[in-house]
Structure formats: structure tokens, C-alpha cells
Symmetry: C2
Subunit: 418 residues, 2 copies
């Protein structure tokens, strides 16, 4: 089944609000095997709403319209489609009662404008009336047209709980969908393309996409068809073939993150971790602790922004800072060893660099970053030159540092000293 | 001038990629006084591209098309508009040379597919050819039509550096735009609406919007018209009136962030800061260090995830942890005092709580968070109950902790002991 999404609201056209409703709906519908063929966004002008609804209805099996259902004068969706479809507005008494009860329950003041919400185009039926979410649908030219509030929570609720099951029930000759995302770090998108060239060319149902998702590159395999078991094996075969080419760069799959991968590896190896951050300013620890259960392997972290704190907290020798500078391999190594010793963990990780935009020198330009890692057996470090703004340098550095743990625990030869 | 934005790409329709290009373009164009009347997204099918381009051109003064300009078979934008506009594809030798040079410079392999990039519809002119960003434009039915790559960095560069100046030069009878964003924290959206009710009702050119932007609420004043000085004063008046009602909740304005506000206040008060984080896991320090120049006031931070680290690094007494627990007011206070003493800073900030989803108890459910703050004069703490998932509890806690500094340095009476 092919459908279109129409989102209505001036705030979406002047950029004040990011159109997450269209994104969410397209994600969910695609994942369920429905084909979204177009998304249109228009403002609060009846003429524009009329035009996009009319056009979309001509070309689609279903239509989802969000926004413009509120109480104010610029909420014109219901009135406009009532006119367009030749369906007079009629009062839905059940809905009106429901709104009155909600107002009472939430201790709000009744406002006559609220009655407007209960006047629907003739023949419209309420979606399951969850509190606060008053969407409705109707059938026009044999196609279902769904009207949803623009409030993201309400829109998502009705989409998931009502629209998708409704469409699934209508669908005959079911289409399935299998998908797998490989998340790569440390490799450029064009290199991924070169390495995977030709992959899946002989499998007509398979689509392969490369998507930069800074600082990662995501490779997505998607198969759509009628035999769900076949689709799963198509995607699994493609994943296996890809692994042979880009295996070392895969840091996570599907919904998983690099920090989850790292957490699992640390648990498997019964290791625990302490982190010393300078240029990353807490981002490495923040990412590690986004994972529920991270307290099982993450012991503590230090954000040693000043030279003084590097010395006092981690015992970085003053001579190292004086002779090599805070941004140097010896400092990164001293930080990693220091944090490991101070915290009594089996692994110590460090990052020190120049995030910018100021602080760069000809010798050590903005983006110069050293990563260090220590275990009881020794210490390694390496310098990098990252590109981008302050925030991007922090992100690249944090991903690189986290990926060091993954590579170390999966046996990368770079870490032979540890 | 009224314009439309067309974004092309299957990845935008199946939800794999969030349409940030349309969002960015609509933001920038609106801010410059251009009126975006519609945004359309279609996939890589010639028929759909043709239809939206044709329709948009009929109704607009200008048109911006992004995506589908690459080298692969599914990049059909150029070929499709060449046919639609009856302009044969012609080889742009300057562009071809430029691409060859780039390939050489970046040490990539030449690929015959790359030549496709240099075949443009007859009459098309290159936008200023910055490296890697090969957009072009042409005039059709008297209206400029701009074609941009879908890569966000390239698209943004060409929009800002070429399209907007180009449109400004074309514009006659200029429309201006004044806007101001107030960023609020610690107040619910409905409360903001109640407090600001009636504001600006007598000013026809003024639009006021409330936008939840977790964990903040943003209030945006926008005025559009022909007298730029008048618009500025309309927005300034509205801002002043709003300040009287919601002043204490304003944590930042326009592009500024709460952490920038905090940084400025610390600099003004010649204070420096150390942070002890438990449940926020590094997020407070990460946000503080997103600000360039934060090393002038941010001394160091501790992520004391374990009880042991709270005792060892910050001297939190074992009795406090045993008697009150790690998530308690006494622990938050001991952390704030400890980090202040250890770091020898004028201000110490702490957060300890249960981010979830596990670890909650009937007594201290998930979302229970204590914030602490210490100076040489004493210490204060307070407990909160935040709602949401792990990431949201971390965000709320970090914003609350940072906002404590703002409120302390702007004289909030809660901090009378400090």
C-alpha cells in the first residue's frame, strides 16, 4: 500500500519546529511495510491545504494528515477538508462529553473555543479516544484519510495504536520488511562504497544504503517482499558478505550504540574502567553512562581541564607537561596510567587535545588529539588530527577513545603492549 | 518573495534520514524575510520529481531543490529537470576539471561515473564552486531554481553563501523579519501560556509561539513587515513585557545556551567551578565544556559513579553513604563541599540520583535526584523527582544543576546560605 503524509503548520515552514512528525510516521510506516511516496508540508492557508490533500488523494491508497486540528483560528484543517469533501461539519456529542470530562479532570477552565474540537466532517469516526488525543478518520474515494493532532505524543500514540493496525487489517497480500543497520566508525563513506561495490547486485529485493551519521557511517540493508523468512535470509547473507569486507569497522548494529558494545565487551572480559578526559570534557563518561547498567564496569571519571588537575588528580608529572605540553603522547599516557592507578581499575582511558576554535598552534593545530589507554601491563597512545568545529572534535575524540576499548578487547594488534 | 523547498531522496521517505536540509533552509530563508510556502519530499522517481517541480514553479517566486545530484543511477534530479524544462544536458568543462582536481587532491581514484556530475541542463550556471559542493541554478519561467546536493554541509554552505545573497539581490520592496527567542527552564509550557496570556494581542504584526524543547520551553517573538526599525521595537517591547512575567525562568536568549549564560556569569563574578557528578555521568561537564573559553572558569570535574570513588576522590564520609545512601541530600552536600575543597575552586556543584530504568526503590523511585552547591561560605542541597527515561533524567538533572549556578549568581533567595 502506498501512502502520503501531509503536515500542516506555519511553524514547520519557518523552521521554528523540526518536522519530527513526518519523520516518525515515515519510519513507522516503512518499518511495517507500507510505502510512503511523498511528504508535503504547507501552512495554515485553506487553499494550500486543499491542493495538497486533493493531489495526494488522487495518487495514494491512504493519506495521513497532521496538524491544524486545534481550537484557534489558524487551525483550519477540519473546516477545509469538510468543504473539499462536501461533508458538512457535525457535532460529535461523545467527543464533546469526553473533552468536557478532560477539562474537569485536569482542573482547567472551560473555554467555548474547545467545542470546535468536537465538530467533525460528516462520516468521520473517532480513533480510539485516548485522553487528550482527538484524531479522526474518514473514507474518501475508497481510501482512508487519517487526521491527527500535531502534538508529537498524541500523533505518535494514534499512529501506533490505531492507524498502523487499521492499515494492516486493510492490506491484502501482506508485504514484509527486513532490515539491518551496520554502524561503522573509523572509515570514510566513499571507502565503504568502494569496499562494498557490487554487493547484493544479483539480489533484486535488496536495497543497500550508506548514510553518514557523524562521526559514524551507517550501512543499511533493506529487503521488502512477501516471504518474510526469505527476506530475513537475504539480509543475513548481505550482512555476512559485508562483514568480510568491513568487519573491523563495525562498532554496533541496529539500535545498539558503540557505548553499548563497549559495555558488553567489558562485562564479558570482567574488566572495569576509569576515564581521564581533557578536551572531551566529560563526553566519554556521559556516553558510557547513557547505558543502563554501566555502573557495573564504569568506576569513575576525571575531567582534568587544567594542568593543575592533571597533576593533582592523576599524578601527571610536571616535567611531562612542561617538556611535551598538555596535548601530547606522554601526557595522554600519564593520564591513562594515572587514572588506572588512582581508580584501581583494570583499564584506564584518556583523551587530551585542542577542541578549538581557539588554542591551536602551527605545531598543534585545532583538532590535534591524543588518546591513551593503560592496563596493568602497560600503556599505549596515539595522536590524531580531527576536523570540524569544537563539538565535532569532541565527538570524534570520544568515539575514537571508546572505539579503542572495542578494538583492544577484540584483539586489534595495535594494542600488543597491553 | 515566496518560495518552495523540494527535497529528493528515498531515505527521507522511509525515515532513515531526518530531513534536516528542509529544516535548515526554512529557518535561514525565514530569518532573512523570505516566505517559505511549502516543502515537498519525494523519492527517486522521475514522475514524482517532475510533478512537484512543475507544481511548485507555478506558484512560487523561487524554488530550492536538494538531493539526487550524485553519481549513482538513482540520482535522477538533473536528468529529470533537463527533460521537464526542455534543456538538453551539456558538459560543463570547468566543473569537470574542478572535479578531476579534487579527486587528485584528495588522493581518490577516478571513476567514470564522476563525469555525470559535470553534465548540467543547458543554461545552468554553477554556484560559486567551493570544493566538493557542486550546486547549480537556472532561470525558468522568470524564476530562479536552485539545485543543491543533499549532503548537509554542502547544502548549507551553498544556501548561505550563494542562494540567500542571490535572492536578496533580486528582492524588490524588501520585507524584514525580527525575531527573538527566550529560552525558559523550570516552568511548564501551559504555565508559560497562562502567564503570557493576552501579551501582544494588540500588535497585529507580532506572532508569539511557545515551543517545548526538552528540558526547556522556548518562547519566540516574530514580527514581519517593511519597516525594519519598527519590527525591532515591536519585538523588543514584547520581550520586555514578557520579562516582567517570566523573567526568572529565562536561562538564555536566541542562539545562546544555558551553559553560555552560566559561563558569562562565572566570568563576571570572577569565580571558578568544579563539578562532582554521579547520575548525570559527565553530562554537566560535557555541557560546560561545549562553550569555547570554558577553561577560564571550569577547573575540573569528577564522575564519582561508585561509592568508593565518592569517598576516595571527594572525601564523602562512609557514615553519610551508609546512613543516608548515595542518593540523598547529605551525600549531595558532601560531594559539593568535597569537590570544592579538593579542587580549590570558589564554587562546587554536585548531582546524585537514580537515572533508571533500574535502581529505583519505593522510597527513592527512578528520577529521584539531589543537587548540591557549595562555596567557601557553606553548602545547600535539594531533592527533585524528575520524569522520563534514563537520558531525560540525566538531561533534566544537568539543566537543573547548571541553572542553580545561574540562579545563585543572579541573587535567588534560595541560596541565602551561600
Amino acid at each position: 500500500m502506498r501512502g502520503e503524509i501531509i503536515t500542516i503548520g506555519e511553524e514547520l515552514l519557518c523552521g521554528r519546529v523540526l518536522n519530527l512528525n513526518a519523520w516518525y510516521a515515515s519510519c513507522r510506516l516503512s518499518a511495517m511495510g507500507f510505502h510512503v511516496t511523498a511528504i508535503a508540508t504547507v501552512g495554515d492557508r485553506a487553499e494550500d491545504v486543499r491542493r495538497v490533500v486533493e493531489l495526494a488523494l488522487d495518487r495514494s491508497d491512504f493519506l495521513i494528515v497532521t496538524g491544524g486540528l486545534g481550537t484557534t483560528d489558524d487551525d483550519i484543517t477540519t473546516k477545509t477538508v469538510a468543504e473539499l469533501f462536501g461533508r458538512p461539519l457535525t457535532l460529535d456529542r461523545f467527543l464533546l462529553d469526553h473533552i468536557r470530562q478532560e477539562v474537569q479532570k485536569q482542573d482547567l477552565l472551560w473555554n467555548d473555543d474547545l467545542e470546535k474540537l468536537a465538530w467533525l466532517p460528516k462520516g468521520a469516526r473517532l480513533m480510539d479516544p485516548e485522553p487528550k488525543a482527538c484524531g479522526y478518520y474518514l473514507e474518501e474515494k475508497g481510501h482512508p484519510v487519517f487526521f491527527l493532532p500535531g502534538v508529537p505524543e498524541e500523533m505518535r500514540l494514534l499512529l501506533d495504536k490505531f492507524i498502523i493496525p487499521h492499515l494492516q487489517a486493510l492490506q491484502s497480500g501482506k508485504t514484509y520488511y527486513a532490515t539491518r543497520t551496520l554502524k561503522l566508525f573509523g572509515i570514510r563513506e566513499d571507502k565503504v562504497g568502494t569496499l562494498l561495490k557490487g554487493l547484493g547486485r544479483d539480489v533484486p529485493d535488496l536495497i543497500i544504503g550508506y548514510y553518514p551519521n557523524f562521526p559514524e557511517v551507517h550501512v543499511v540493508f533493506t529487503a521488502r517482499g512477501e516471504d518474510s523468512a526469505l527476506l530475513d535470509s537475504i539480509v543475513a547473507d548481505a550482512e555476512k558478505a559485508a562483514e568480510e569486507k568491513i568487519g573491523p569497522y563495525i562498532v554496533a548494529r541496529d539500535e545498539e550504540t558503540l557505548e553499548q558494545t563497549v559495555g558488553k565487551l567489558l562485562l564479558n572480559h570482567k574488566m572495569n574502567l576509569a576515564v581521564a578526559e581533557s578536551c572531551t570534557g566529560g563526553l566519554i563518561c556521559h556516553r558510557l553512562t547513557e547505558v543502563s547498567g554501566s555502573s557495573e564496569y564504569f568506576e569513575r571519571g576525571f575531567i582534568v581541564y587544567s594542568d593543575r588537575s592533571k597533576m593533582e588528580e592523576l599524578g601527571v608529572p610536571m616535567e611531562v607537561l612542561t617538556n611535551h605540553g598538555a596535548v601530547s603522547a606522554p601526557t595522554a599516557e600519564a593520564m591513562a596510567q594515572g587514572v588506572c592507578r588512582v581508580s584501581d581499575t583494570s583499564l584506564g582511558l584518556s583523551a587530551t587535545g585542542i577542541a578549538g576554535p581557539t588554542g591551536g598552534t602551527p605545531d598543534k593545530p585545532v583538532g590535534t588529539v591524543y588518546i591513551g589507554m593503560a592496563t596493568a601491563r602497560g600503556v599505549v597512545s596515539k595522536g590524531y588530527r580531527f576536523f570540524g568545529n569544537r563539538s565535532q572534535v569532541k565527538q570524534m575524540s570520544a568515539s575514537m577513545a571508546l572505539d579503542w576499548i572495542r578494538r583492544f578487547l577484540t584483539g586489534d594488534s595495535f594494542f600488543h603492549r597491553l
